[in-house]
């Protein structure tokens, strides 16, 4: 047996060596390829500038799609972080909410979410223009409130490559927001109630606030209309995605109430340890990976070379966020708490999401570090002052640091980027670089986000709770949600061979 294997190995090695002698007639570097032939195949008869422009659009399509795919993959990251931080007995349930929100969100956004948000987004030059998206409803000239083209990707001629690519990229952003509350509301949320919530956020709250910032709505016009900087800017969604998710999560967690056993009678909290730290850290890695799609991809253009600065800023803020949180916990409690370190990295990422294109490396590092400290403080505040039970820290990571992110843009934008943004010529500058108007715009945007999202979500959850009850029974909660709600335990513990 052994001999045979050695023989085989030997013979195949010899065979391969022999093959090395064969002359190569191919084109092993591409030097002899005819670019002209490809030109003719793709652009035959077109003027050169047209062909160059089409190449540029193709570059941007490739960039936008691939970064969009990375963002989609973040869903897995969220699922792992949240499930890892919860208890074994609820693991299948937490996983399932994170899984199903992806599907529900797609459908909700497909039906009307996308149309409400981007129906009037009009032309995005880098993607070859998205001509059909011209429908926005305004309460006054320049004060857009909601879009109305693109329902089912079909209405008004929106069966269009530019529209479809925008849908894909924006859908995965929406789903990021939608999956945040599954963390804060984990271990006690009724699955049927959750499903309805999934449609609500993807069809109503997220699209409407999103329209105001990214869809041509009123917040993005604060510059043109009121002279406040370039209007409210949120580059990749510290507020549109993260604060929306975090504030919805806060409203939901308040309405649900804390898990049984989370607080003592005197109001002091108990720790409920996570069931799988490696799972949560794997999830954090996946999120940090996907964020390189989230932020740099938000240029919607690979031809915008600023993507390199965006990517580096994202990386730096993630590092300083993690380290700041780790050092703070270490200093205060004697251990570099893994779960808080993971939260710290996410906090840095959330915070840099809004300003990533407008600041330089040192500011990014600073913004991330502040987020890392902030998230620790916020976790304590939410738990000990607000007495809200957020098993994974979603409110603090996404809510608090999301708001910090949009404000930090108003402070640190350094005037090297953003010429013409929001219809205002000149680059974007924050307070420290001489433009208080921009900071004011950021304040207005952040305040709007808090008021609009929190209020609406709170009302939604309250009403839903009245109508159908959104929390499982105490028996189900104590037993773990997996079997009663999902019909199956996450981990089968059959009495099966175990090893000594």
């Amino acid at each position: 047996m052994r001999r045979k294997i050695w023989l085989t190995l030997g013979l195949s090695s010899i065979f391969m060596l022999l093959m090395a002698g064969i002359a190569y007639a191919g084109d092993p570097t591409g030097a002899n390829m005819s670019g002209k032939a490809t030109f003719d195949a793709l652009y035959s008869g077109k003027p050169l500038a047209e062909a160059i422009g089409r190449n540029a659009v193709a570059i941007n399509f490739v960039w936008t799609l691939i970064t969009g795919f990375l963002v989609m993959f973040m869903q897995a990251g969220f699922a792992l972080v949240e499930t890892g931080f919860c208890r074994k007995k609820n693991a299948a349930h937490v996983m399932m909410t994170n899984f199903v929100i992806y599907a529900l969100g797609i459908i909700g956004f497909f039906i009307c979410g996308f149309a409400f948000m981007f129906g009037g987004a009009s032309g995005i030059a880098s993607l070859g223009g998205t001509a059909p998206l011209t429908g926005i409803w305004e309460i006054a000239k320049g004060w857009g409130i909601i879009g109305y083209k693109g329902f089912f990707l079909n209405s008004g001629g929106t069966y269009d490559v530019g529209v479809y690519i925008l849908f894909l990229f924006q859908m995965v952003f929406m789903d990021t927001a939608a999956t945040i509350p599954t963390g804060a509301m984990a271990e006690r949320w009724k699955f049927s109630a959750f499903c309805i919530y999934g449609l609500f956020i993807s069809m109503v709250t997220y699209p409407i606030f999103g329209n105001w910032v990214w869809g041509g709505g009123w917040l993005s016009k604060l510059g043109v209309n009121l002279g406040l900087g370039h209007g409210y800017i949120d580059f990749a969604g510290s507020s549109v995605v993260h604060a929306v998710g975090g504030l919805t999560a806060l409203a939901g967690a308040i309405v649900l109430g804390p898990r049984i056993g989370k607080f003592n009678k005197d109001g002091t909290p108990n720790a409920i340890p996570p069931h799988d730290i490696p799972m949560a850290i794997l999830g954090t890695f996946i999120l940090a990976f996907g964020w390189f799609g989230f932020n740099p991809g938000s240029t919607l253009a690979g031809t915008d070379l600023r993507i390199s600065v965006v990517a580096v800023n994202t990386m730096l803020a993630s590092a300083t966020g993690a380290l700041a949180a780790m050092l703070l916990m270490w200093a205060k409690f004697g251990h570099p708490d893994p779960s808080m370190t993971a939260n710290g990295m996410l906090a840095g990422l959330v915070a840099i999401t809004a300003p990533c294109a407008f600041v330089n490396a040192w500011a990014a590092a600073l913004i991330g570090a502040v987020a890392g400290l902030l998230v620790v403080g916020s976790v304590f505040f939410v738990e000990r002052v607000l007495k809200v039970d957020d098993p994974v820290g979603a409110v603090s990571v996404h809510g608090t640091c999301g708001l910090w992110g949009v404000l930090s843009l108003g402070l640190f934008a350094d005037g090297t980027y953003g010429d013409g943004w929001g219809g205002i010529s000149g680059t974007v500058r924050g307070l420290f670089y001489g433009d208080p108007g921009q900071f004011l715009a950021q304040l207005i945007g952040a305040a709007t986000c808090i008021v609009f999202i929190f209020t609406l979500s709170y009302i939604f959850f309250r009403v839903q709770d009245k109508l159908m009850g959104i929390r499982v029974s105490p028996e189900v909660e104590l037993a773990g949600l997996d079997i009663p709600e999902m019909g199956i335990a996450a981990y089968a513990e059959e009495p099966e061979p175990i090893r000594s």
Partner: protein, 113 residues
């Protein structure tokens, strides 16, 4: 009252449970244990280095019963769990002083009904 404690092969749990249930035994407690006896364990190789595994997975089945059913139960279990190969397991029998049903507070044989 008497306690019958059986150490069995894991794959025999199902058949034994069924046999007992046919016989009308309602209550039992099961746990996962590891054991060695005449059966000597085995040697594994991980990355070229040997590991001797001398504790093998077993199932412990505990049944507390009224005294006069002990012999029958032991017989049923022995017969069902036997394969004839080393490692079939052992049954230990102990005296029980008292049994209390938590739900009702009943004690003694009554608690076992």
């Amino acid at each position: 009252m008497t306690k019958i404690e059986c150490i069995l092969r894991p794959e025999k749990l199902e058949p034994v449970k069924e046999a007992l249930s046919k016989f009308g035994v309602r209550g039992m407690t099961v746990s996962q244990v590891m054991g060695c006896g005449l059966q000597k364990g085995r040697t594994e190789i991980y990355r070229g280095t040997e590991i001797s595994i001398n504790l093998l997975p077993k199932i412990k089945l505990e049944i507390v019963t009224i005294d006069n059913r002990v012999d029958e139960l032991v017989k049923i279990i022995t017969e069902t769990a036997r394969t004839g190969a080393i490692g079939d397991g052992k049954i230990f029998v102990y005296a029980v002083q008292n049994v209390i049903r938590v739900r009702t507070g009943e004690t003694g044989d009554k608690a076992l009904e």
